[in-house]
Amino acid sequence: MESIIEVHNLKKSYKKRKTKEEIHAVKGISFSVNRGEILGLLEPNGAGKSTTIKMICGLVKPDSGRIIIKGLDNHEKRLKALRHISAVLEGNRNLYWRLTVRENMEYFAGNRGFSRKEVSEQIDGLLAEFHLKDKEYELVNRLSRGMQQKLAIAVAMLADSDVILLDEPTLGLDVETSYEVRELLQHVAHDHHRTIIISSHDMDVIQDICERTVIINNGSVVTDDRVENLLKLFEVRAYSLTLGGLLTDQQQQILQQKFPLSQYIPDTYQSTFEVELEKSEEIYELFDIFKIESTPVEAIDRKTVDFEQIFMKIVKGEAKHEMAPSS
């Protein structure tokens, strides 16, 4: 698959204002983004994601490394590279609140060198698609946050750029609007053939719409894999076993030693044992321990793991897996 963005060994450090201590915000990040893909760029707070996004957008200059956008180095040919990229970095703050919906769209198109006539039809189409037609002449400060967010995305779409970067696109939105924005983003990627990079702390959004995620921690990429793969990978190892009665102290001791990532919830009639196995074969060892006291196993359920749990495990270093190639 064709890469539209290639990030090579990106590094950026800052000096603290008072102490002059050097902070390595980004320590050699590399990844690529394929055309038409929805990529989630994730990190715990302050781990280098925002700096990476701003470097891709050409707002921050890297200390070293390269960012290639559609074959153009975004440092050497910054303005040409910026033709292929647009961003919604601060959501509704990226708009002029004293202009109307249509005026905002026309102004930003003008700032990219398009005439009002050139984009008139496109604006009409986007207003209809984003359900903003009836708000066309409304001042932005009178719109709801969700509508402002949709408008910010529509403005980014106007530029005809191949890549759209979105920082926290659902932040502060109610559930209904959040779903609407998710649907819109999927529509934008699939029907308009745009590449979307999303950074968000809302793991539901990532799980719901992203095809692949790059997880950054302490300034480095710790995971680069398809969301589907990550979910499968973690799902097969997590089990919840319903036991008929209690485990003995000896059993509990052995289980704790062999399976440190487990939890025992005792109950006289029906205890629960939750475990995460490193290898699928470990399930046999588990049964051997129950067999010591002939503890009946009444049910085995595969635990559903959500993306938030996977993310937390990865950033806490509790789980590692090989990084898949980006294509």
Binding site: Y14, K54, C57, L59, R83, G110, N111, S115
Partner: protein, 257 residues
């Protein structure tokens, strides 16, 4: 052509905001008119009666230019500061046109839109004082254009400072007095000030509007000075701004406020 679309977009935005907030625009116009009335009253009360007419004409030209300088130089600083606070500065910085071109078209847009206000202020002040100045458009135009170019250079310097420091409001307040100094200083008092921005241009405009000098009556040397000032300050301003932009990108300041 993209340049033209950029200029149109920024001029339209400026016009829409002035029109949409008409009471604010009228208040601004009134403030300037009141300042002028205060100056006029000052001349009437404490001025030398023998030079009163001349002083009034002097003040009209100066204060019109002061308004123009404030609009061009100071307003761009306010705009950058506001855009940084609102979160739109990073969107401008991501424009493939280049942020300096947006700033330049903003400066042009400010002049185009506020020109109407300048004309209103000029005629209002002439009407108030009964002093009718010589408005020779053909002679005034080249002087005005070259003086505006040097003002744009100052505008770029202020825009660059605003991008780096963000909190420049206090400086912008002081700037209005610096601009007043540049505009009001008579060149006969300190001829070397001709090489400061605006000063020579205003001096020549005074010669045209008060003394009635025509295009051919202005010396070649005078034209050369305003031409030199225009190129010098514009280039200095632009280079300063581009360096500020580079520094902001290096330090990650483009999106911060």
């Amino acid at each position: 052509m993209r340049w033209l679309h950029l200029l149109k977009a920024n001029t339209r935005k400026e016009y829409i905001e002035l029109k949409r907030y008409l009471p604010n625009t009228i208040a601004m116009l009134l403030t300037f008119y009141i300042i002028f009335l205060a100056m006029f009253a000052g001349i009437q009360v404490i001025g030398d009666p023998s030079t009163q007419d001349m002083n009034v004409q002097f003040v009209i030209v100066n204060y019109i230019f002061w308004y123009l300088a404030m609009v061009v130089v100071q307003d761009i600083g306010w705009q950058i500061t506001n855009e940084a606070t609102q979160g739109t500065l990073e969107q401008l910085s991501m424009s493939p046109m280049g942020v300096w071109k947006i700033i330049l078209t903003r400066l042009l847009a400010l002049v185009l839109v506020h020109f109407l206000i300048v004309v209103v202020l000029l005629y209002l002040s002439m009407l108030t004082t009964g002093q009718w100045l010589n408005i020779d458009v053909l002679t005034l135009l080249p002087i005005l254009v070259l003086t505006l170019i040097s003002m744009f250079g100052l505008g770029f310097i202020i825009a660059g400072m605003s991008i780096i420091f963000k909190q420049v409001q206090a400086f912008l307040q002081i700037l209005q007095f610096i601009l007043a100094g540049l505009v009001f200083v008579p060149l006969s008092v300190a001829p070397f000030l001709a090489f400061l921005p605006i000063v020579k241009g205003v001096d020549l405009v005074r010669s045209v509007m008060i003394d009635g000098i025509i295009l051919t009556g202005i010396g070649f040397g005078d034209y050369m000075i305003i031409l030199f000032n225009a190129i010098f300050y514009f280039v200095i301003g632009l280079v300063f701004f581009l360096n500020c932009e580079r520094m902001a990108m290096k330090k990650g300041l483009l999106a911060h406020y």
